[in-house]
Symmetry: C2
């Protein structure tokens, strides 16, 4: 299967903050890009730049050799792939499907198996790097699937990201992304506690960051999100509601693997408490509100 620019139409499903930037990079690199998303207006900009609107997942899938999905929840992924109007009912082999949504490893394995039986290549390839990484084409892309499919898709990944790793067979991209979220989850609790303690003990939190940001306590969260907490800036870089989705998938997957995750359980319960306080549309740094109610 040849997925060179000349011979390939890429279908991109999901025009959220992440998906629209990623699809735009493919378009600017010279690929023909057809798009579909539930809310058509979200595709207006990219269509004005040359992407082609398709009226349904099925329409898009019947016309594209490579279909990339970047949707919301695992249930959305399931619907997009297995639904009546879904990809599998319309895509024509030889073809490749790539799910870049952060989703369930078990679902990724199901998609792979189903695709394989139909003669279609499948990869799970969730990303980290957020809206900035998507915009700059500097995402970290964690890939699960067969080496052959990975190598074929690599030129596409290189347009969207800078750190691209084939992590193992189908599902491994999702597992890696969940390991990423696990490392963040409990760490966020520590960052909030550290900052709340600093403030409550009368210190200047910005000066505290100068002392602790570059040493053994240093982390991306401390150096990038604590300054926003200090400034009462809870604008979403990454939404609380999406982080809760990821933590729920991680908790389910960890439970099925028998991994002990008290830190995840704690972080998840705190984020759920935060969402109950009407903060699901905030950025993840809003967790700090639970630790410093004056914020």
């Amino acid at each position: 299967m040849d997925i060179s620019k000349e011979k390939t139409t890429i279908g991109f499903i999901g025009m959220g903050v992440m998906g629209s930037s990623m699809a735009d990079h493919l378009l600017q690199a010279g690929y023909r890009v057809h798009v579909y998303t539930r809310t058509r207006s979200k595709a207006d900009t990219i269509c004005s730049r040359g992407a082609v609107w398709e009226s349904s997942v099925g329409e898009l899938s019947s016309k594209c050799r490579v279909v990339i999905t970047m949707v919301g929840f695992p249930k959305d992924v399931k619907e997009v792939y297995f639904g009546q109007d879904g990809i599998f009912n319309h895509i024509v082999p030889p073809a490749m499907v790539i799910d870049m949504t952060t989703s369930s490893p078990a679902l990724a394995a199901d998609i792979y198996e189903h695709a394989r039986k139909k003669g279609i290549m499948a990869l799970d390839a969730p990303v980290s790097g957020g809206d900035t990484g998507a915009k700059n084409g500097s995402l970290s892309i964690m890939v699960g699937g067969e080496t052959d499919a990975f190598e074929k898709a690599l030129p596409l990944f290189e347009i969207m990201g800078t750190n691209i790793q084939l992590q193992g067979p189908a599902g491994s991209g999702q597992h890696t992304k969940l390991a990423n979220q696990l490392a963040i989850a409990a760490g966020m609790v520590g960052v909030c506690e550290s900052l709340a303690y600093a403030k409550k003990s009368g210190l200047d939190p910005e000066k505290v960051l100068k002392s602790i940001g570059q040493g053994a306590a240093g982390s991306w969260s401390l150096n990038n999100l604590a300054p926003r907490m200090i400034a009462d800036d809870f604008e979403p870089g990454f939404y609380v509601k999406h982080f809760i989705k990821d933590l729920t998938i991680a908790a389910d997957s960890a439970e099925s693997l028998g991994v002990f995750t008290p830190g995840l359980d704690l972080a998840k319960s705190l984020y759920e408490k935060l969402a109950d306080q009407n903060c699901q549309e905030d950025g993840t740094q809003a967790l700090y509100k639970l630790f410093d109610p004056s914020s």
Copy 2:
């Protein structure tokens, strides 16, 4: 008070891994250094390099204009300062005392008050950067006390460290160090969970670190300690028993300030469980043993 090299004898109490390197830097910089520590043999090397052994805290304190302490627990600090043979019973003003032990902020404030009444300057100046930072003179030094005393002591701090911050009045150095430990504590739980999840889901943990180490999940702990966890290397960089000491001080101080610290409480209980399994002499990365009993 002039604490130039020519006019100053520095007394250094505590010749552990940290203290002996720090005192050695002062000696190499040209200061006269007198030392005392409970186990005399620990001072053999530095005495062979020119330091002068003193037979007690009292003896040392009566001869030195600047006394630096780097001992173990708050109870040791209390004894060294307030005991019968302690610093305050023997030191002769004008003088300066600097406690670089990680200890209680309340005790630091007590030392400062007591010193002030005697006409002695006092700073609390705990450090981070571990044995490597002490050896390389690249510690982060978090200082509490008066500006005047800080400025006088700065030339000494600059010999031992690279990131030196006056954080506020007496106790502020200790508060800052506790904020540092708070940011580390829950974060370590997340690192262990992430790695255990990666292994249990069949991934290659070293490759996972390549995907997640530089992004939003990145932290000093993930990048420096996870590789040791993977290699079953539990040698102490920083001892479990010392971390439990710090977490206990932090928990007490947070409680008295009314700071919500569920992540600290979790980490502390896990480290105490680890110590109960005879791992108190391991490095802090040994927390991983609770998450992957095959390690």
